[in-house]
């Protein structure tokens, strides 16, 4: 396998984008990524693209409509779709393309325009229609059950965990203020989170990500291309893994969540990481729900099961702590779903390149992660110098 690097990233301003149609939104991200990598569309050998289920935007196989905006004219192009984890799957697919030796430069592009539809209505249709769909109340209905299982699993002081989850929201919102691309840019307090209305217990409005319009493009290249084109700003892919889980929500242990644990262990092994909290400087965790971010610390081996809340309350996961979690403001502040996982990769790459809007000094190793489906998929990627 060949070494593969991220050589450029591009994001749209995320939010309610009534100023552009769907292809124009995608064009904006692609153009920025090409500019960032300082290459032209002619240098791109192949494109992988993806988004949420097509009913989200009401055009099936949307890559057909979006081919023009992707710069896909006369190029190999494919759609990859794994629900919420689509973005990380796009990064993985682009990596496979280049690592295989078949292509030198491959662009991954994820997108969503969520204000044009009823996103929770669409997301409810990802569950099979016989046994589960009627009990699937959008994404909050699914993931709130995981959060509640977590709250009750270990002997965690409930008030402490509640406080830690609120802190996670406050921290992400503060960090998003530094990110010019972030959707939600307001300062909030712990009290604001605790007093916000229940969406799906235990999840309150400020424990939860927004819906966003937005797109992200990330360009992957072979070592040969990096040398030949004399590209000096790169983030090398050090490790990656992905794991699927059963579809039936009740089949899985949502707290000792094996697909997340396995994907993390395999990613660390490939990247040669033995002590993740020491060796990883930045973790762009897929955190649409505050409690999930805390649970992921445990699943990713940052601490022991049941101790995630301590990392928050002791300041371990901040920019000044041992490991900076979601310094971009995370999914909690920006969530154009098909792009969301790829934004994690883009932000991780920017940290390695030293160009992130909320840069962590001396970042040498960064983790990107995404999760998708009915608590069903987890994928990770480690980037480094």
């Amino acid at each position: 396998m060949r070494r593969v690097a991220v050589i450029g990233v591009g994001q749209t301003k995320h939010g309610k984008r009534n100023d552009v149609n769907y292809p124009e939104l995608v064009y904006e991200a692609v153009k920025k990524a090409l500019e960032h990598a300082d290459i032209t569309i002619g240098d791109v050998d192949a494109i992988v693209t993806g988004s949420m289920p097509a009913p989200m935007e009401g055009t099936n196989d949307p890559q057909l409509w979006l081919t023009d905006a992707l710069g896909g004219y006369l190029k190999p192009l494919m759609r990859v779709a794994t629900c919420g984890s689509t973005g990380i799957s796009l990064a993985h697919s682009a990596y496979y393309h280049v690592a295989s030796g078949l292509f030198d430069v491959v662009m991954a592009v994820g997108m969503e325009k969520m204000y044009e539809n009823d996103p929770q209505g669409t997301m409810t249709t990802v569950a099979e229609p016989f046994y589960q769909r009627i009990f699937t109340a959008g994404a909050p209905g699914i993931f709130a059950q995981q959060c509640n299982a977590y709250i009750h699993r270990y002997d965690i002081p409930k008030e402490k965990l509640r406080e830690a989850a609120a802190e996670v929201s406050v921290r992400n919102h503060l960090d998003a203020l530094k990110n010019p691309y972030a959707h939600i840019r307001v300062k909030i307090t712990v009290e604001d989170v605790l007093n916000s209305p229940i969406v799906s217990y235990p999840v309150r409005l400020l424990d939860l990500c927004p819906i966003s319009d937005g797109a992200c493009a990330v360009i992957f290249a072979s070592e040969d291309f990096v040398k030949k084109a004399k590209i000096d700003k790169v983030a090398w892919v050090k490790g990656l893994s992905y794991a699927g889980d059963e579809h039936n929500l009740g089949d899985k242990d949502l707290v000792n969540w094996v697909s997340a644990i396995k994907a993390a262990r395999e990613t660390y092994k490939m990247a040669g990481i033995e002590n993740p909290i020491r060796e990883i400087d930045v973790a762009e965790i897929y955190n649409p729900f505050t409690y999930q971010e805390i649970l992921y610390y445990e699943l990713f081996g940052f601490c022991k099961p049941g101790e995630g809340y301590k990392l928050v309350l002791e300041g371990v996961v901040t920019k000044d702590g041992e490991i900076a979690c979601d310094p971009s403001g995370g999914v909690l502040c920006t969530n154009p779903i098909g792009a969301t996982g790829l934004i994690r990769v883009a932000e991780a790459a920017l940290q390695i390149m030293g160009e992130a809007s909320n840069q962590v000094d001396g970042c040498e190793t960064a983790l990107a992660h995404a999760m998708g489906g009915v608590n069903q998929f987890n994928g990770l990627m480690i980037l480094g110098r």
Binding site: T125, F130, A137, P197, S200, N248, D251, L254
Partner: protein
């Protein structure tokens, strides 16, 4: 209000999802107030709802097993007033849970009902993980997952 120009459209498609013999038997047994699982010969787990193969061992299930219509809440959520979407089965607030039915080895998703949802904090306490629940069946049953109206907390 923001002046946004939009093109309004609608996609409505009807589907006829085929029931396998396994699905059909599961639904038919619901008419008799029986919840059926199938057992994996390799890991020994009783899977509910019944299915033709074990997703982990990847072998055919070999035995039908009736499980109880009583069990324990593994986890739950209360869908609040804020969470509304097209195709929603009922007016919020309402309860959802994963229930480990007695005799089953995996959780079963369904509604929680028969409690007062007007005060969410109180309702949540009544349906927290660990709570024992029992199925409340519809009088008229037609072989659908909704033949069970909801699961009612026993305490």
């Amino acid at each position: 209000m923001e002046d946004v120009r939009v093109l309004t459209g609608y996609i409505s498609l009807t589907y006829q999802w085929v029931l396998s013999p396994t699905d059909a038997r599961f639904f038919d047994e619901l008419k008799n107030k029986r919840i059926m699982g199938t057992k994996c010969p390799k890991c020994g787990r009783v899977l509910v709802p019944a299915r033709k193969f074990c997703p982990r061992c990847f072998v055919d299930t070999t035995e039908w097993v009736e499980v109880s219509d009583e069990g324990v809440i593994v986890t739950s959520t209360l869908i609040g007033e804020k969470l509304r979407f097209e195709g929603q089965p009922m007016e919020p607030p309402y309860g959802l849970a994963i229930i480990k039915l007695d005799g089953a080895d995996v959780g079963f998703s369904h509604f929680i009902g028969g409690i007062d949802f007007s005060d969410p904090e109180k309702a949540i306490e009544k349906m927290k993980p660990g709570t024992r629940v029992k199925a409340v069946w519809n009088e008229k049953r037609e072989g659908k997952i909704t033949d069970i109206k909801y699961f009612k907390p026993l305490e």
